[in-house]
Subunit: 415 residues, 2 copies
Amino acid sequence: MSRTLAADLRAHVGATVKIAGWVHRRRELKSVTFVVVRDRSGTAQAVFPQSPPVTEETVVEVTGRVTANEQAPGGVELTEAVLTTIAEPSARPPFDLYRPAVAAGLPSILDNAAVTLRHPLLRKRFEVAAARVAGFRRTLDTLGFTEIHTPKIVATATESGANVFELDYFGRPAYLAQSPQFFKQAMVGVFERVYETGPVFRAEPHDTARHLAQYTSLDAEFGFIRDHRDVMAVLRDVIAGMAAATASLAAAPDVPAEIPAIDFLAAQGLLAQHTGEDPRGEPDLAPAHERWLSDWARREHGSEFLFVTGYPMAKQPFYTHPSPSTPDFSNSFDLLFRGLELVTGGQRRHRHADYLAVLGDEAAHYADYLTAFAHGMPPHGGFAIGLERWTARLLGLANIREATLFPRDLHRLRP
Amino acid sequence: MSRTLAADLRAHVGATVKIAGWVHRRRELKSVTFVVVRDRSGTAQAVFPQSPPVTEETVVEVTGRVTANEQAPGGVELTEAVLTTIAEPSARPPFDLYRPAVAAGLPSILDNAAVTLRHPLLRKRFEVAAARVAGFRRTLDTLGFTEIHTPKIVATATESGANVFELDYFGRPAYLAQSPQFFKQAMVGVFERVYETGPVFRAEPHDTARHLAQYTSLDAEFGFIRDHRDVMAVLRDVIAGMAAATASLAAAPDVPAEIPAIDFLAAQGLLAQHTGEDPRGEPDLAPAHERWLSDWARREHGSEFLFVTGYPMAKQPFYTHPSPSTPDFSNSFDLLFRGLELVTGGQRRHRHADYLAVLGDEAAHYADYLTAFAHGMPPHGGFAIGLERWTARLLGLANIREATLFPRDLHRLRP
């Protein structure tokens, strides 16, 4: 008999079926025992006159007749049930997986991820993340992007010498890539529109709730743009596609047809006018300022998203394209969501001479990177979305580690 | 005026449009000059009475009237054309990108990938690869798999201490993951069916045409199987889905509804009978034997694919599940395609006690890995497809580096 998933039982009332999964819960009443079986689709209840000798997390098959019962979870249950044990656990989970709430702290959850993530609430976070990545790809596929796979081992630090992991590469020093930035730009010259979904590595020395040593970066880059506003328009569609992809799993935020945008200087002006602080002259926004601006966007524009554009060039990486009319400011943007900066992006420099001028003596160090520009590159730009950070924000998780299967950080290298 | 792609011009005959891309080729005749512009969709020809002052690889916009001309490539060309230069190259490509053949050796192609991959023949390889990955994901999404993202930095070598890159992890030694094997197995306990498409790392000391230090592994793993034959059935559907996804780009191989399979011992018997060699007693097949068996499958079964099953346990990793009836042999398989082993897979051990028995004193070393099995795991299995190796074989490329954007190997760490 082939297997039926728990979620499909309703379509088989009256039939005898086989389900398979883990014993999620046993409930012994006076005259019957309920065994709730968990599979990838959900849970199903089976009824036994005698209590079968199984503990939670035993892997089982249960055959039985699908019987409607409005009091059963899902409206059906298996009666005349026969249970077969497939594999027995030899240890108990650190907390009861069947209880609605997760009764464990984060270290215990992470140390025992192979079993704790079986809890439906914890598992769901990663189903949301998977759906979001699928939405990212689907939106960009529709727009003519090509997926690429770029090296994670590089000869020189990607953007700065700081926070880079060094490794022994056949006796030579090499580094883990902090981003696919240089490769994705070069591939605009080949494919025009590219994306990559892969790991990036930061030897982040700060032990915070929002930094990891490895995270999943959703990177896009494309050419023949007018300026950063074309990048923002594609990002808006990507965000909307990611939200739509998770709509059945989690409350998805409304993504306005046009996400409101405020210029960096105007944002500082607002902050000076309303917050009692005067950040004017600072080259970046403080986290508290991002929170205030997010609140402002919700009040003024009814939007949980806000673009801040035109950050000063002083704090931008060298590949950022300056604003043609005000070259001390950049064609860059951050996307704020619920008080947090979740995406950075912008237009990049595309003229070889501009790179030579800005890099000066350092140009030789970036010779490989500069090849693309020496051979003719269109105006282009892109963005990078940190998957785990976004999933955490979307689901209201306080710590990015709660949205990571097996986090890596300053202290954590296992499991 | 918004941009029209080269491939879409036929739908706009009579209209004035703007195209944008790279000058692919200039051809000066007596009375006119043809400029062929290349964009992500293909090429388009524009006709100029005077020769515009642009070299190949200049980034341009061209406006003009779309005019039917059966002698033009694609059946249309732009007349009354006006060309605007967007960005000029400052160097010449190492070979002429407009010639049909690639007139450069592999080192030159790889050293200058940012420009050489613009050649339509070279670019197409990676469009094929991208379509194949999309087909992999689409097939597994339909089958209820969940995408996961696992650590690439690990505390212990994944499968063996050999060929592993060591790095400095905040002052401690750590390693680059050789595969997501342990993580994907653990996640079967959470999601039942998982896949990952990501980089894996091998400090491969051999300088061969089919080894890389980093490659893209398409990994799948799933539970509640009967044995390795269920894994082979899913792999067959994945292969068919990948072939279908590339059908418009490259000649896709026929994937039989059931891929022929031969047992390892029977394969050795055939080889002994027909090749003048007697490999019986050897624990593995030699490359020449794989080629002979592939030829045999084509002759006998009309199939370019052949499963070889039941390899001896002696050469299998410890997690391989033995055959219940003949425990010196395994529930494993290799998939041969056109003479080469392209996929390995099989059923894994799922009982905690079995792992403890096979690992013995080493069990403590694998404590994190064993957590999943201590908490109840179903019979499960999976497979791993090396993307670049497969793309190379599919396209008849002699060297795996020809199917890699920026290869990493014993000698090559850049660009």
